[in-house]
Amino acid sequence: MAAKQLVHIKVNGREREAMVEPRMLLVHLIRSFPGLTGTHIGCDTSHCGACTVVLNGKTVKSCTMFAVQADGGELLTVEGLMKDGALHPLQEGFKQEHGLQCGYCTPGMLMSSYALLEKNPSPSEEEIRWGISGNLCRCTGYQNIVKAVQFAAAKLAEGEKHELSHVS
């Protein structure tokens, strides 16, 4: 067994550190932090996307990265989406549009959708479908997930307008 290494990462705004084996997968490290089991594991081949998190602004499948590769990075997981006790518009959209059933793919779906909207605030339906194509869902048939992302995009756009009017 190789010597353990110290890894510093910022998860949802909070500094964390851990001694890990170099071979430890990032997803296992994330899930080892108390209260951070929302990031799931659904396959061994990077196909399902249940483990998707946002690392330094980009989505990664955390089962396909070693924890040591995330050293010094900034992570956003599903647990970091709420702000001031309020649901993120994506979380609200998934609830309003029935975009989840068993809930297992949901955290990964939310993170992929989050990164999509950061990059493209008003995606077309096709762009949404491609944007979440790295995430498998076995329950919903995706249709309501697409609607949920559209709901969030509209809500975020509205909020931005609101903020702009405040500034002026």
């Binding site: 084996e21 071979r23 430890m24 296992h28 899930r31 951070l36 089991t37 929302g38 990031t39 799931h40 594991i41 659904g42 396959c43 061994d44 081949t45 196909h47 399902c48 249940a50 997981t77 599903v78 647990e79 989406l81 709420m82 649901l87 979380q91 998934f94 609830k95 309003q96 029935h98 989840l100 059933q101 068993c102 809930g103 297992y104 793919c105 949901t106 955290p107 939310l110 949404i128 479908r129 491609w130 979440i132 194509s133 790295g134 995430n135 498998l136 869902c137 076995r138 329950c139 919903t140 048939g141 995706y142 249709q143 309501n144 997930i145 697409v146």
Partner: protein, 784 residues
């Protein structure tokens, strides 16, 4: 159906948002892999690389020497405790860990237990197993050949034959078929596939030496039945076993059986006195746990020249793999496959099924399906299309002509079922109108002239779901009733505990809505709890679309018992006779004086503070519901496809699904179930397949090889509904979760075949991959 309650109360028919969503959206679901207990150990399975081999020796020494390894369990170890084999859910037995030989690739051979999951995986690599390869039997059609290797040396019967089952009138059916004016036949393989819920199977077994109690956190669709089986097989007093099925990340039938990994984790916890977690990898899930289908079916149909169906004969070979680990009711080795006569009215039918062993993973589970109903619906809907081709008749017209008429219900099918209610023509008409059928046929004719390939596929399915009744249905001897317990608290809020277990179906919302409907307590004030065998009433669990038909009915009946008691309390509070009271959701009032009333909340408070003299305190009831019959949801699905001649790729242009599941509890959830089921049906028709090579190597053993659709491939679904309530269900519901998966595969395949029918194509087996279509186009000279 109009709603009897306000949206705030949220009874039947309201599309209220799901109560369970908030925790999932915040990453606060509690799945089995999220369970972490102090001092927990981790299990890892050693599996066979061979499909059939003599087990000459298992050497665990090196593995045991690895620091961090606590135990390595082999089949020989289990044999000493008489646990090397366990019963399956269908009167067969299955090896927990192999002794003597292995019978399929990835079979469980040894179980490593270590302080850390990585160490457990390392140690598994150090277990040395000595195999001597044996001849492999992959093709079920060769299972009964005289020179086939006998796979199951443990059985008295030295044959690979498991069962023969038949139903119907063979002689008459044979005669009618022999005298057919028009005959159609189709041979089809419903391929082996796997439900592949996104969460794999797993457990945490926690034996507490101080208390003698064993708690098992389990990915279980049937926690109560599993507790009983652990008690019977393990010899542990049932009161000392607590099964907790926490949040389940999808089941689709995959989480009905008991798997060797669970048993090994329990044994490891019993022997070490520490909690042991075992979570499958995806490849372990696909390669070793309950597969579905693998039905090799031939249907022959007889009809008059003007298109009246006269008879159906079905012969099927069922590949069960190495152990018959099907989860079927006792009397039904082929499940409810005899629903294969479908939505059509004809008097003669005969159906026979033979089950055989092969060197493949064990199973035969009901994948989003009520025990082989998917196979049956697919077969009849394929056969009817082939018959339409033989008759040169439009497939919609042929179906309309033969549907069971609405006034014939309850309808006695020729294979023995009593269909509760239906109006098949109405659902089909709605679907035809919605998709614009006549226009599409015109478009197709014009496209054909131009050499373009477009097809329209119809499936008018009938399901049979909601088992019991208990006099006919049981799993491993336990009758198929189900249960609900409701307790109304003093402040008028309530908790409902169920014998079922949601895996994403939204039970926490829908059962609360039933209580809201029956008692007028707002759904928001009703907590629904499932999956803890220490607290919930006994039940058989969630599969076969049985939650709403059985536990949903139990919920209504328990609520009605509470209402009965509530009436006595209301009469006491209003100082009137019970006969003077009338009920509307939420309150009793005096006939003719509606202002004199007591709300359910007033009544609940009085049940603890001011009950009539001689009455027991409290307001609670439990109901174990035994349905008088099954329910028969139905619908018509129509699919339109365009085929790219250059690549053989099939593009689903449109898909209209009209479902009739009787009265609906929550239309939003029903629609969600339909979207999901259609997507799985689409996946089965075009992608999902677990194949084996001639050496018995699994070809669909991970998500690289076992294809699942993403949002990009998945079509957009258009849904519609008709409503024909079940006459025997307390609130007229039928169940819906499986209909779209049962009804849709035939619609997809019928559409593709329809696109190619003018070339003489009558059938293509699933999954319809582009290469299959392209090969046909090449054979037919359409492409070079």
């Amino acid at each position: 159906m109009s709603c009897r309650t306000s949206p705030e109360v949220g009874g039947m028919g309201h599309a209220i948002k799901r109560k369970e969503d908030l925790r999932f959206l915040q990453g606060k679901g509690n799945y089995v892999d999220d369970v972490v207990l102090p001092d927990m150990l981790y299990g890892h399975m050693v599996r066979s690389p061979y499909a059939h081999a003599r087990l000459k020796g298992v050497n665990t020494e090196k593995a045991k020497e690895l620091p961090g390894v606590v135990a390595v369990i082999t089949g020989e170890d289990l044999a000493k405790a008489n646990l090397a084999w366990m019963p399956t859910l269908f009167f067969d037995k299955q090896m927990v860990l192999a002794t003597g030989k292995v019978l399929f690739q990835s079979q469980e051979v040894a179980f490593v237990v270590a302080e850390d999951p990585y160490v457990a995986a390392d140690a598994a690599e150090l277990v040395e197993v000595d195999y001597e390869e044996l001849p492999v039997l992959v093709d079920p059609h060769k299972s009964l050949d005289p020179d086939a290797p006998i796979l199951r040396e443990d059985r008295e019967q030295k044959s690979n034959h498991i069962f023969h089952w038949e139903v119907g009138d063979r002689a008459t059916t044979d005669r009618v078929l022999a005298d057919s004016e028009v005959k159609a036949s189709v041979h089809t393989v419903f391929q082996r596939c796997h439900p592949a819920p996104l969460e794999t199977c797993g457990c945490v077994a926690d034996f507490n030496r101080a208390t003698g109690r064993l708690t098992i956190y389990l990915t279980s669709q049937a926690p109560h039945a599993h507790r009983t089986l652990f008690a019977i097989v393990g010899g542990i007093p049932e009161n000392n076993i607590r099964v907790i099925s926490p949040d389940i990340g999808g089941g689709f039938g995959n989480k009905v059986p008991i798997y060797p990994g669970y048993v090994c984790a329990v044994v490891a916890s019993l022997t070490t006195g520490r909690p042991v977690k075992w979570i499958e990898t995806r490849s372990e899930n696909l390669q070793s746990t309950g597969f579905a289908r693998d039905y090799h079916m031939t249907a022959e149909m007889s009809a008059t020249a003007d298109g009246r169906i006269k008879a159906l004969r079905v012969k099927t070979l069922a590949d069960h793999g190495a152990f018959n680990a099907a989860a079927q009711p006792t009397k039904f080795p082929a499940g409810l496959f005899s629903i294969c006569t479908g939505a059509y009215d004809y008097p003669n039918a005969f159906c026979e099924v033979d089950g055989v062993y092969t060197n493949k993973a064990p199973g035969g589970i009901a994948y989003r399906c009520s025990f082989r109903v998917t196979e049956a619906a697919y077969l009849i809907e394929r056969a009817v299309d082939v018959l339409a081709q033989e008759l040169k008749m439009d497939p919609a017209e042929l179906r309309m002509k033969n549907f069971i008429a609405p006034d014939k219900f309850p309808y006695q099918s020729p294979l023995g079922w009593s269909y509760d209610s239906g109006n098949y023509a109405a659902a089909m008409k709605m679907a035809l109108d919605a998709i614009g059928y006549d226009e599409l046929r015109k478009e197709q004719a014009e496209k054909r002239k131009r050499g373009e390939l477009m097809g329209i596929g119809i499936s008018s399915f009938v399901e049979i779901v909601g088992a019991g009744p208990a006099h006919t249905f049981d799993i491993a001897g336990i009758k198929m009733f189900d249960s609900c317990e409701i307790r109304v608290h003093p402040t008028g809020k309530a908790i409902c505990r169920m014998g079922t277990k949601s895996q994403g179906q939204g039970h926490e919302t829908t059962y609360a809505q039933i209580v809201a409907e029956e008692l007028g307590i707002p759904a928001a004030d009703v907590t629904v709890e499932e999956g803890d065998t220490d607290t919930a009433p006994y039940g058989l669990g969630t599969y076969a679309s049985r939650s709403t038909p059985v536990s949903g009915a139990a919920t209504a009946m328990a609520a009605r018992k509470i209402r009965e008691k509530g009436k006595k309390i209301a009469a006491h509070l209003l100082e009137c006779a019970e006969e003077d009271l009338e009920w509307e959701p939420g309150k009793f009032f005096v006939k003719g004086a509606p202002s004199k009333s007591k709300s359910i909340q007033d009544i609940a408070f009085a049940a603890y503070t001011n009950m009539p003299q001689g009455m027991e305190a409290g307001l609670e009831a439990v109901d174990y519901y035994d349905p008088p019959n099954l329910t028969f949801p139905f619908g018509t699905y129509i699919c339109v496809v365009d085929i790219d001649k250059g690549t053989g790729e099939v593009k689903v242009r449109r898909f209209v699904a009209v479902d009739d599941c009787g009265n609906i509890i929550n239309p939003m959830i029903v629609e969600g179930q339909i979207h999901g089921g259609l997507t799985e049906g689409f996946a089965i028709a075009f992608m999902q397949s677990i194949d084996y090579d001639e050496s018995g190597n699994v070809q669909g053993g991970n998500f690289m090889d076992y294809l699942l659709p993403t949002a990009v491939e998945t079509p957009k679904w258009e849904t519609g509904k008709t409503c024909t309530p079940s006459p025997h269900h307390p609130f007229g519901a039928k169940g819906v979760g499986e209909s779209p998966n049962v009804g849709s595969p035939a619609a997809f395949v019928n559409a593709v075949v329809d696109a190619l029918s003018h070339l003489g194509v009558k059938h293509i087996d699933m999954p319809i991959a582009p290469w299959k279509v392209w090969t046909i186009l090449k054979e037919k000279g359409v492409v070079n």
